[in-house]
Point group: C2
Chain length 153, copies 2
DNA sequence: TACTAATGTTAGCTAGGGTTAAATTTAAAA
DNA sequence: TTTTAAATTTAACCCTAGCTAACATTAGTA
């Protein structure tokens, strides 16, 4: 019985990998689109608008890359884009961006909590935030909340 | 002063995003290569060899994709590949794969610890494991160790 | 208002990783 | 041993996202 259990666990590792790579996320948007939306959202929040150059600066890409992605995000309904004029996030785009923002905050909070330095926490959060199951987010949230309570107790 | 601090934090968010996307990782291998190496490693560990079909199955890709990537991993020195004959991981490839394996284990352990269910923990670990700074891994490791001690206390 | 600088966009190309269809090699069965 | 089936590889293609160079538009200054 113990052996059987061990075997099952071993097989699970490969099964788990398979499941992880079979996810039909069907999100209708890519990780990269999320990155752009997040930056656009933060820029608008900070200065009221998001220019091609600023977006390119914060994503470390060229301006033509930005233009291209912005056109794509316009077509997918995440924002409204008028050539040479500007960008406005739609409700859809805002909702995606806010989701990223919250995930990012939660992750940074947690990482700092276990002692990761600010800048590294931010970098890692940026890398991780695309890949978290809602359940994981929920548990992480609970954990952070509980830990905070413990500290203040 | 308080305002100044707040402003700084707001600016930091965008700066953090910028840093995260400017990383010159210079790892000489991509995330996808890591995925393949991990699966190949697990397959070899489990059955002694890794076939094209098995790899394709666990990564949910077609067999031509596997062949192509295996050729690439051969050229990069992560494995030795002989057409129609088989694959042997080199030291370099093994070391990358073992690194992934360990990161994966650590992440799953942590996620389960905070209450994430087994299968989801595995899926998320798979998504996250490419994006963790060594410092973050270290802190996470410390955290898990400490938590374990607490439980058994 | 006219001219120049800055910003934004288009065109054309690259690399990574994926796919299907067709060809090859290996293995198994008659 | 010949024939057939399964596994593997090659060929030819697609898509995402990036880049540089060239072009267009807007804004700022003389």
């Amino acid at each position: 019985m113990v052996l059987g259990y061990t075997m099952a666990k071993k097989a699970d590792r490969l099964e788990a990998i398979r499941e992880a790579h079979s996810l039909e996320t069907e999100t209708a948007h890519t990780d990269r689109m999320e990155d752009y939306l997040e930056v656009i959202y933060e820029l608008i929040k900070k200065k009221g608008y998001a220019t091609t150059i600023d977006i390119s600066k914060y994503l470390n890409v060229s301006s033509p890359s930005v233009t291209k992605m912005v056109q794509k995000l316009d077509e997918s309904g995440h924002l409204n884009y008028e050539k040479y004029r500007g960008i406005v996030l739609t409700e859809k785009g805002t909702s995606v961006a806010e989701g990223m923002h919250e995930k990012h905050n939660l992750l940074v909070e947690f990482l700092k909590m276990i002692g990761v330095k600010d800048d590294i926490a931010n970098i890692d959060a940026e890398g991780i935030e695309h890949h978290l199951h809602p359940e994981t987010l929920k548990k992480l949230e609970d954990f952070v909340k509980a830990a905070k309570k413990n500290i203040s107790r």
